[in-house]
């Protein structure tokens, strides 16, 4: 059989490979011959090459985000299907969305519907109607150490404060207060995971990634009293 003849079943082979149409008896028989096998392998390689060159990149997970006004300025939130992943403030929507794309390799989609519960609880918080949050948190992109630190901070009730050293003690690393302070500075979900309730020794305010005025404002909302 010549090369030229090999082409006569091409349409059937392509229909089989990309349209899922099974070949008839004649072609099925031909596919068991050397020529048939080679022809089919050629199409498979072409499709394989196409897929590797132009096929799907790893699909990026969708994150739903939204912004809301608050007494401390615009607050931005982002959530996956598994729960909250980011809270931002004192920044533009564009930079918040760009960071979701860059650091979480996600596809951000503005969705007030998917973030409704988070937004509603934050509104109630800023209105002084609720102090504790009851939300699902997606910790998958958070390192184990930071997660332990944030969980310990989250166990501090609203209206109270503890020291960095106390958090270090609670996570079983009594000499790790500096590491705790640094980790809290990387809190991806401030306000809701209350790193602002962790302060320096002796009742001093300590630091805050959002600025000390912000930290004081949040503690004031919660009715916490600071020394000095």
């Amino acid at each position: 059989m010549t090369r030229f003849d090999d082409a006569r079943h091409d349409d059937v082979l392509i229909a089989m490979l990309i349209d899922g149409v099974p070949p008839g008896h004649e072609v099925a028989r031909w596919l068991r011959t050397e020529a048939g096998r080679r022809r089919l392998a050629g199409y498979r390689r072409a499709l394989g090459g196409l897929s590797r060159l132009y096929g799907d990149v790893r699909p990026r997970p969708i994150l739903y985000w939204c912004s809301l006004p608050s007494p401390i300025g615009r607050v931005l939130v982002a959530a996956s299907d598994a729960g909250l992943v980011r809270v931002g403030f004192r920044r533009s929507e564009a930079s918040f969305v760009a960071e979701l794309r860059r650091t979480l390799d996600a596809e951000p989609v503005r969705s007030p519907a998917r973030t409704a519960e988070i937004v509603q609880q934050l509104r109630a918080y800023f209105a002084g109607e609720r102090l504790a949050f009851d939300l699902k948190i997606d910790f998958r992109q958070v390192s184990p150490f930071l997660r332990r630190v944030l969980s310990a901070a989250a166990s501090v009730p609203p209206g109270q404060v503890v020291s960095y050293g106390e958090i270090a003690r609670r996570i079983g690393q009594p000499r790790g207060s500096r590491a705790v302070g640094q980790a809290l500075g990387r809190n991806p979900m401030p306000i809701i995971l209350p790193c602002h309730r962790v302060i320096a020794a002796g009742g001093k305010i300590g630091g805050y990634s959002g600025g000390l005025r912000m930290k004081r404002a949040l503690l004031k909302i919660e009715g916490a009293r600071l020394a000095g």
Partner: protein, 167 residues
């Protein structure tokens, strides 16, 4: 998210990523694809009000994107008057490391670049966007049979460039 988008903004947020990838497949160049993507949604925004309820929004959007890519490619041909060399690493898929593989893939990429724009678009829509031939026809014009012929022709050309190595 389900149901029809209620605004062109929602439309853009829902489909931007897949349209961008489609344009990368059509143009093979990230920057051009970005530009074409912007034009696509600008056009979609202007035409959104005229979109009939119940129409296939996704196919409509892909048609706009296909046209944006075509005019982008025409502009490129006018400017350079020659074919741009394929940059394997700039394509949306991931390339394996082996050298022979790269040679084979380069041959496929060149063949894809040489395809008439209609065949290339038809092939990508069928293979990666899950479009049926009727939807492809509604994106590219013509009927279902022509859409199928475009896909089949394209694939035959890709197989042919690999023939030398396989014999």
């Amino acid at each position: 998210m389900h149901g029809s988008p209620t605004s062109s903004r929602e439309l853009a947020e829902r489909h931007r990523h897949e349209i961008l990838r489609y344009l990368l497949r059509l143009l093979g160049d990230a920057e051009e694809a970005q530009d074409a993507c912007q034009q696509t949604f600008l056009h979609a925004h202007r035409a959104f009000g005229r979109l009939r309820a119940g129409s296939n929004v996704r196919a409509w959007l892909f048609r706009i994107a296909t046209n944006a890519a075509r005019s982008m490619a025409r502009g490129r041909a006018r400017r350079s008057g020659r074919m741009v060399e394929v940059e394997l690493d700039g394509l949306p898929g991931r390339c394996p490391p082996s050298l022979e593989d790269r040679e084979q893939l380069r041959a496929v990429a060149r063949a894809v670049e040489a395809l008439p724009s209609r065949q290339r678009a038809a092939l990508m829509l069928r293979q990666f966007e899950g479009f049926g031939y009727r939807e492809i026809a509604s994106c590219l014009g013509g009927n279902e049979a022509a859409a199928r012929a475009n896909v089949y022709q394209a694939l035959k050309k890709l197989r042919a460039v690999l023939l030398e190595d396989s014999a």
